[in-house]
Symmetry: C2
């Protein structure tokens, strides 16, 4: 099968490396230099000290006409608007899989409502080493659910032990489940500049996590708050030694996904008149760190 | 006049340097090594690139009998209990001046209620360079008010242009005025790890400052909240290029004064049933940074 992957970040490269072992993959990048690197040398997947290199095709996304029937969109949520603006490029695509954090972008996906649209969450730990190398730091799964139409070609994909693919019926459930975890762990680790495990190991940080969770749960449609909390704790423990993506974004002076994650929760809450002082405070902290933190 | 100074931190050394120019000063330190340094070489005061060295006497506080009629206590608030526990040492002292941040320690001072007790706030910028050197980074004033008895010998002190001394009638007012500034600027700069000026210059940080102020003002007895806010902004601007003491404590892995400052506000609020989610959150953040932040 021919598969397109829009975005050459950690998730894009991880997908390219695993799917590229069985399919003909083309990576659509923002920068020409990255596309050239990938096309010339392939994508390198590093895991447990071993490196596998997988041949892929690659070209810049801007102005491209995507010829693959199945395309994964792996850009950050704040770049979804730019992808949607290039709607014509997807004329020949039949099935799109969107792998963004948050839920604020779902409305924008209605421009693709005549195609099969799948949304999913990536439960892997992955770290982009350079333009063509990704480190697979934690094996999880790719969890997918149809948003519009049928799963179509995406349903034909088979994962493997290191890269399992699972399907769910309820797209809202999988996105909310991921969002609540991201809404608590990511902003706190980024604000405090600590590894995920510190949120459990340092008692006052654990209390902060509980306080923030308490506000988030007022907004997100959780079936079982106790279960959601347990999942957060579980993920913190399993990724204790990892730095969250938002931590890394702040540490490297990059834009974070705070808008997509906690900003979305804040907006939802405000629309319903729920006071969310902590969420507002933490969103401000991350916005400040993104914007003008010359000291940080 | 013979003057004793308990504590060899930035404030203790600053007082020793200025008062030592006109009076016979003895500094009571925690560590013998510091007392030896001070007694041997004097205290060095650095200001605008110039250094003045002032001869002082010095000895360890533990077990000492203070013979000076007037004693300044400059230890951090969390060490006041240890000072009070050594009550016998102050048998011959007639007037005590306490220069701690916060207000939670005032109850403990009742053990000295048979003496003249003065409380005060230090509005200077000072930075301890080493055991016997202090940098005077910002000229402010020493503001004093009687708590028990009369100002007594303290009233005889005369300041100078670089070290003015002022008196106020209302001890609660001067402590609250200082506390509200410390409660907002110190914890935020320490949490965000930014200079004081960033709280004004970075719009989302300024919003955080306003949010935190909004909770603090619900607890502290402010006569004029607008004026208090203006004073915070004014101090932020005047010290824009400085790092707050709490920032420095966190950066250097030292214990902070969070308990004395925001912890006190939290307790006061709790006692009156006022919900203070942000204050609780920020107190936890600083407690965590003090305790177990192996990454920070």
């Amino acid at each position: 099968m021919n598969i397109g992957i829009v975005g050459g970040g950690a998730v894009g490269l991880l997908l390219a490396a695993y799917l590229g072992q069985r399919h003909k993959v083309t990576v659509y990048t923002r920068r020409l230099a990255q596309a050239e690197q990938l096309a010339k040398h392939g994508v390198s997947l590093k895991k447990n000290g071993e490196t596998v290199t997988v041949a892929v095709q690659a070209r810049p996304f801007a102005g491209a006409e995507l010829v693959e029937p199945l395309v994964f969109v792996t850009v950050k949520q704040y770049d979804i608007a730019a992808v949607c603006a290039q709607l014509d490029s997807f004329r020949r695509v039949r099935t799109l899989v969107f792998l963004q954090n948050g839920m604020g972008h779902l409305e924008q996906l209605s421009v693709f409502a005549d195609k099969n649209v799948v949304v999913g969450v990536v439960e892997h730990g992955a770290f982009k080493l350079d333009d063509r190398a990704v480190v697979h730091t934690g094996v999880g799964k790719l969890l997918l659910a149809p948003l519009y139409g049928s799963p179509a070609m995406a349903a034909e994909l088979s994962g493997d032990d290191d890269f399992p693919i699972e399907w769910a019926d309820d797209w809202e459930r999988i996105l909310v489940d991921k969002l609540i975890v991201n809404a608590v762990i990511n902003p706190l680790t980024a604000l405090l500049q600590v590894k995920n495990g510190a949120l459990l190991d340092v008692a006052p940080y654990r209390e902060m996590m509980a306080q923030l969770f308490d506000e988030v749960r007022q907004v997100l449609p959780l079936r079982d708050a106790g279960q959601a909390w347990q999942r957060i704790v579980h993920i913190c423990r399993n990724t204790a030694d990892n730095y969250s993506s938002m931590y890394m974004d702040v540490a490297n002076g990059r834009r974070t996904e705070i808008d997509a994650i906690l900003g979305y929760v804040l907006k939802q809450g405000e629309a319903r008149g729920i006071a969310l002082p902590l969420i507002r405070f933490v969103v401000c902290a991350l916005k400040g760190k993104e914007g003008g933190n010359a000291d940080g």
